[in-house]
């Protein structure tokens, strides 16, 4: 009879102790997590970033657009009170490859190049595979203006073989 009640008492005691331990730790992690979430949400650059807190250790997940954002995420989370350490598992999305340069087709390019050199009767132009070759003579003072006009027509390149006076 005595033994049973002792066992029962120990059982109850254990139950209470664990409850206390859980009570003191459990809400803490969720509280920290809420604070972390609030911090992350406040920064628009960290939109795709999430964090989970367990035993005071914050693990960052999600996508960061570059290394700087990843660092920012880490320092932001580190700055939250009660965060002991940070595991930064944020993946950095590689920047999209730049779109290839669009080169004008020879036919429209030839027409627009001829329009551009129309007022320079001493200048000749040839267009082949997107490469504009300028020959003839030109006043040095007009060279920049002509090059501006030709280079904006989306040529592959401009070979300036003009004799400048």
């Amino acid at each position: 009879m005595k033994k049973t009640s002792l066992r029962w008492l120990t059982g109850m005691l254990l139950f209470f102790l664990t409850s206390i331990v859980f009570y003191s730790c459990g809400p803490k992690d969720t509280d920290i997590n809420a604070a972390v979430d609030a911090k992350l949400k406040a920064i628009p650059d960290l939109a795709g970033v999430t964090a989970t807190v367990k035993d005071g250790v914050a693990t960052i997940a999600g996508e960061c657009k570059d290394e700087a954002t990843k660092t920012l995420a880490e320092s932001t989370v580190k700055g939250v009170e009660h965060v002991k350490s940070v595991v930064n598992n944020c993946t950095v999305t590689p920047p999209p490859a730049p779109a290839p340069v669009v080169i004008a087709q020879d036919d429209p390019l030839t027409k627009s190049v001829n329009d551009a050199i129309k007022d320079y009767p001493t200048v000749k132009a040839e267009v082949k595979d997107g490469v504009v070759t300028l020959t003839g003579e030109l006043n040095r003072s007009s060279n920049k203006k002509l090059m501006q006009a030709i280079q904006q027509l989306h040529p592959k390149k401009v070979e300036n073989k003009l004799t400048l006076k």
Partner: protein, 140 residues
């Protein structure tokens, strides 16, 4: 990457002068620089830097296409011909009939942009038609 080093000053100037939509791409040994400058003087400055790195623009390793944001429909532009009048044509092309003229250094109104070369413009005298973009400069 060698070209980006050679023209570093040019690209840096573009970045610090507020050029928007700036794209710097290297392809087949040519550096393509595209963007929109906030003013005509920024575009001029970029071309001056370009001309300093590549005197007389002979190296054939850059294609720079800088537009000016103030060159927009509704804006004004100045006729920058050498000294003659600017032809205003019925359509976008030098083969199109001339429907009017704008005088040297006259201010005209930009109506709409046809392409990189042709603008639909209107003069204060009421003439409307297409003019060659090369001879139109933004106000500032």
């Amino acid at each position: 990457m060698a070209l980006q080093d050679k023209y570093k000053e040019l690209v840096d100037t573009a970045k610090t002068s507020g050029v928007s939509d700036l794209q710097v791409r290297e392809q087949d040994n040519v550096l393509y620089i595209d963007g929109v400058a906030p003013t005509g003087s920024v575009k001029d400055k970029l071309w001056d830097v370009y001309g300093r790195i590549d005197p007389d623009f002979r190296a054939a390793d850059v294609v720079m296409n800088i537009n000016v944001s103030t060159m927009a429909p509704g804006g004004k532009a100045k006729v920058v011909t050498e000294k003659s009048n600017l032809n205003i044509r019925k359509g976008p092309g030098t083969d199109q009939p001339i429907v009017g003229k704008a005088s040297h250094e006259e201010m005209v109104t930009l109506v709409s942009k046809m392409n990189d070369q042709w603008w639909l413009i209107r003069t204060d005298g009421g003439a409307e038609g297409y003019a060659f973009a090369q001879y139109l400069a933004p106000e500032n």
